[in-house]
């Protein structure tokens, strides 16, 4: 397909070389495992990490005479994903065979979609940043297509001196291959794209995005060129399995290519692997002879067709997606772009936030979730899924503040208690005596005592009313922070005759 340049070179993103600046051009093919119980064309389980060849049907092992039957849920998942990528949904698509020999490809071909994929062009809005000023840059990355295909099995090379072991548990698991346009211009953008894509898939529930288990893998196409010039020859870095590695792989590959070109060499179009230990890419040793996949429509399968109603029903039940949610949090809840971005960055965080904010002050909820909860999680290296403070517990803390039962300061202490020890915040306030003192009699007594003990300060305060704050502080200290600050303030002013 013809490559179209959608970007104007950005000086910030250029890489200086010995002979001038270079621009990196990046496109990505992401393989995302479809969330489904069973495989794309067989009834075997998709469960990760089974015993060797246990989640394998006769179809997956390509026994003679076996035939594929498509799993309709995988079709739905692909359509949902297409809708989430604001992409063209093709009511008619075709499964093709991609023919090549490999021991973990039992059929001798992969069933994939070549000329007529289920999903056509779409877009992903990527937020890159924040930079040193806390600013985000929005970049639009085009999606070329999304198609359904089978995963291959797995070869293990270190079990035996002269033999590789083949396990077909993954063979036939449904993948969505999401092909981007060559629209990215830096490792940061590529990382942000992959992060955003994963977020969208998780919101949709179409892929768990678990890169450790290989549920998402990226093939990264990297080339370099003079800023705004002709596209250079690209190399494909296969199967990069973490977002961090994607960034490293791009940077090292770009440096490698620049060095070659600046030395007067040319780039060979080739497939490379990223070695995380060395932080470098290397050419694959099993240099397959010129790829000639001999695609043709799979004669065991009819064209995949569905009507508009099928798509409409899926559109109807589509969850709110991160971009929409972010927009809503800004316009309805009045959150800042920064706060909203952080809250929608992961579906689980957004869900947590929305549960806390439900029926409460959204800004306050956002502050607590971002500063206190995410801060604490970050410090302890925990994910939101592992949070010791539930949304209900945090919500209760916020309620206690709103009711005036505790002060903001006590709330921080209470949060820490709940974080460390758990428990119902309301009961903790009772049992630990954290309740704010609103009894004016008790506060008055404390005010009187402070005034009586500090006649010199009284005189000063009468001359300079801002010093009343000192009295408030003293009273708060005397009451262990439990006095209602507003009540203290009012009483101090009244007693000092400042109003």
């Amino acid at each position: 397909m013809p490559l179209v340049d959608t970007r104007t070179p950005d000086p910030k993103k250029l890489i200086p070389g010995a002979t001038g600046d270079w621009e990196i051009v990046i496109g990505m093919e992401v393989h995302a495992q479809v969330l489904s119980e069973s495989k794309l064309f067989s009834g075997a389980s998709t469960q990760f990490g089974g015993e060797p060849n246990d989640n394998v049907s006769l179809v997956d092992a390509a026994m003679p005479g076996m035939l594929p039957v498509i799993n309709v849920e995988c079709v739905r998942q692909a359509v949902r994903t297409g809708l989430g990528l604001k992409a063209q949904i093709n009511n008619r698509s075709v499964f093709d065979r991609k023919n090549y020999f490999y021991p973990d490809l039992p059929q001798g071909y992969q069933i994939s979609q070549f000329q007529q994929p289920i999903v056509g062009e779409g877009t992903v809005i990527v937020s890159v940043g924040p930079d040193s000023k806390g600013q985000f840059e929005e970049v639009e990355v085009g999606v070329e297509r999304l198609h359904l295909e089978q995963d291959a099995g797995k070869s293990l090379h270190d079990q035996h001196a002269t033999m590789s072991f083949v396990d077909l548990n993954r063979s036939g698991v449904a993948l969505m291959e999401i092909v981007s346009k060559p629209d990215m211009r830096s490792a940061d953008e590529a990382r942000a794209y992959l992060t955003k894509l994963r977020t969208i898939l998780r919101y949709l529930g179409t892929c768990d995005g678990n890169m450790d288990e290989g549920s998402m893998r990226a093939d990264v196409n990297v080339s370099v060129r003079r800023p705004g010039g002709e596209f250079g020859t690209r190399c494909e870095i296969k199967n990069v399995n973490s977002i961090r590695f994607v960034g490293q792989a791009i940077e090292s590959e770009a440096r490698r290519q620049i060095a070659i070109i600046e030395d007067g060499g040319t780039i060979d179009q080739e497939t490379r692997l990223f070695d995380p230990a060395k932080g470098e890419t290397r050419a694959m040793r099993s240099k397959e002879d010129a790829h000639d996949y001999r695609y043709f429509p799979d004669p065991d399968l009819l064209p995949l067709e569905f009507d508009d109603a099928f798509v409409a029903a899926l559109r109807e039940e589509l969850p709110e997606l991160p971009d929409d949610k972010r927009q809503r949090l800004m316009s309805e809840a009045g959150l800042s772009a920064y706060d909203a971005s952080i809250l929608v960055s992961e579906k689980s965080i957004a869900d947590f936030f929305e549960q806390v904010a439900k029926g409460r002050d959204a800004k306050q909820a956002a502050n607590w979730v971002i500063n206190d909860l995410l801060g604490a999680l970050n410090k302890s290296g925990k994910s939101i899924e592992e949070t010791p403070v539930s949304a209900d517990q945090l919500g209760a803390v916020l309620d206690l503040i709103r009711e005036g039962t505790i002060s903001g300061k006590i709330a921080k202490d209470l949060f820490e208690i709940v974080w460390n020890e758990g428990g119902d915040p309301r009961e903790l306030v009772e049992s630990r005596g954290l309740k704010q003192v609103t009894d004016t009699g008790a506060i008055e007594k404390a005010v009187d005592e402070v005034i009586a003990a500090n006649p010199d300060k009284v005189a000063q305060a009468i001359a300079k009313p801002t010093l009343a704050g000192w009295f408030v502080g003293q009273v708060m200290r005397a009451t262990g922070g439990k006095a209602n600050p507003q009540a203290v303030n009012d009483l101090v002013k009244a007693k000092l005759g400042l109003e």
């Binding site: 092992a61 026994m63 005479g65 035939l67 021991p103 059929q107 001798g108 071909y109």
Partner: protein, 493 residues
């Protein structure tokens, strides 16, 4: 008692119900016949005598209780292309050496569910590629028919040559077969038996070793039209495991046998009058036309203008699909493995040793026509021509034609090792000139014996029907059968 192997399926079925003899006796009679004949004919590549006796005993138990399915106790042979659980399934290829599936094809499962008895696996052309059964790794099958005053060994046709020979020689009551370009109908014609390739999608392909997926269909070879109808009723089903199998009820095909053909419009395609067609084939065809006319059918001349492109289209589409379907034979999960210094060499050595010449030839052609730069000119063009071929038939059927009558083959059975055919693959491919259009268009076609050649060997006529109208084919074929009589080879083995 008369030789039980002389009974048709219908006759044996009725006699078993009437308890005239037991299923075990019938099975033993066939096992004895196989024992006596297989050395000379090589129709069976595996005889499952123990399994046959067990199944027959079970049939006797059911029959004894007044129970039993439509084929209870009927001994059948199974083409080696069908997976039968625990029994060698090799597609007559070296590359599947020792392969014993842990599963059962849908078609054979249907037969066993109806009470049929499995006698063994039948020889065939390797991976169903051939028209003479000479490409089998298990050696050629010898046609039980001989020319008058000759003991030249003749081919039984292919690829279902073991099936046709076994049925003709009374080594089974009926047999399963498959047809990708004529592999049921041509061997039926060469052995004086009846064979029907049903509409694509009528029989499940699940568990049948694939040759060319978009053309492969299973069907029976039987001694007469009624038996073919009985067998197809049992073999056909709609199968959730085969996406290309149709969801429509299976009619009782036997009920159509003997139905009147009065008022049917039978088309005679003028393009089937090919250059160099022997006069006796033409005469046989005319005789068939006359028979149907006498029975009250209306005979109309029709045109199928793209007929001459069917063979070339087939020899692109079928090898292309085969090259991909046969990629799984790589020495990793089953069958033959020939070591090499690395995995690529292991593949190459295994496939070089495991596939025979014809199979390699078709894999090579298929690989070539799909390869970069050639796809559009060959494969895509062939699939478009296929659309036109199908459209030819649709036009004729839309004009009110109910079925077409043609010869089945351009000649009678030829000699094993025919030098001219062996030297020229295209000449061999021409064997399927009348049958291949039917596969390309997905239509049903039946071959019915219609007479003998000047040399005393069988010749057949073919009827081609509308999609899923196998019943009209059975009705019409039985009219021809009634007029031409039944044919059996003289026993020489």
């Amino acid at each position: 008692m008369t030789d039980l192997t002389e009974l048709t399926i219908a006759e044996a079925r009725d006699a078993l119900k009437a308890k005239t003899f037991r299923a075990s006796e019938l099975t033993d009679a066939y096992l004895d016949a196989i024992e006596a004949a297989n050395g000379a004919l090589n129709a069976y590549v595996a005889v499952t005598a123990d399994k046959a006796r067990e199944m027959a005993a079970a049939s006797d138990a059911r029959l004894g209780q007044g129970e039993g399915g439509a084929l209870e106790g009927i001994p059948l042979g199974v083409k080696d292309l069908f997976a039968v659980e625990g029994v060698r399934t090799q597609a007559a290829s070296h590359i599947l050496d020792g392969f014993k599936p842990r599963y059962e094809s849908t078609v054979t499962a249907n037969l066993w569910a109806d009470g049929a008895v499995m006698l063994g696996k039948l020889n065939m052309d390797e991976f169903a590629m051939g028209s003479s059964n000479e490409s089998s790794h298990d050696g050629p099958v010898v046609n039980p028919w001989r020319r008058t005053d000759s003991d030249v060994a003749l081919v039984p046709g292919g690829s279902s040559g073991g099936s046709s020979a076994a049925v003709a020689a009374r080594l089974c009551a009926g047999a399963t077969a498959t047809d990708t370009g004529g592999s049921i109908r041509q061997p039926a014609a060469f052995t004086g038996t009846v064979g029907i390739k049903p509409t694509y999608g009528r029989c499940s392909r699940w568990g049948i070793v694939a040759y060319a997926s978009s053309l492969d269909q299973a069907g029976p070879i039987a001694r007469d039209v009624r038996d073919a109808a009985i067998l197809l009723t049992s073999m056909a089903s709609s199968d959730p495991k085969d996406t290309t199998s149709v969801d429509r009820p299976v009619p009782d095909y036997e009920a159509a046998v003997g139905r009147s053909v009065k008022g049917l419009r039978i088309g005679i395609p003028r393009e089937y009058r090919v250059e160099g067609m022997p006069a006796e084939i033409e005469a046989l065809w005319q005789k068939g036309i006359a028979t149907l006319r006498e029975a009250g059918a209306e005979i109309v001349d029709v045109s199928l203008p793209h007929t001459k492109y069917a063979l070339p289209a087939y020899y692109i589409v079928a090898p292309a699909e085969a090259s991909s379907n046969l990629a799984r034979y790589d020495g990793v999960r089953y069958g033959l493995r020939v070591p090499g210094k690395d995995i690529a060499e292991m593949y190459e050595n295994t496939r070089a040793a495991g596939f025979g010449r014809e199979v390699k030839r078709r894999i090579m052609i298929g690989t070539y026509v799909l390869s970069a730069g050639y796809y559009d000119a060959y494969y895509l063009q062939a699939q478009k021509v296929r659309t036109l071929i199908k459209r030819d038939f649709e036009t004729v059927f839309a004009d009110g034609v109910d079925a077409l009558l043609t010869p089945t083959t351009p000649s009678a059975a030829f000699a094993i090792g025919d030098a001219k055919l062996a030297a020229d693959p295209v000449a061999m491919y021409l064997q399927d000139v009348f049958t291949i259009t039917v596969n390309l268009a997905g239509l049903p076609g039946i071959a019915v014996p219609a007479g003998l050649s000047g040399e005393g060997t069988p010749l057949g006529l073919q009827l081609i029907g509308r999609p899923f109208d196998e019943e009209t084919l059975f009705a019409t074929a039985s009219v021809i059968e009634k007029s031409a009589g039944r044919f059996a080879p003289k026993r020489w083995w």
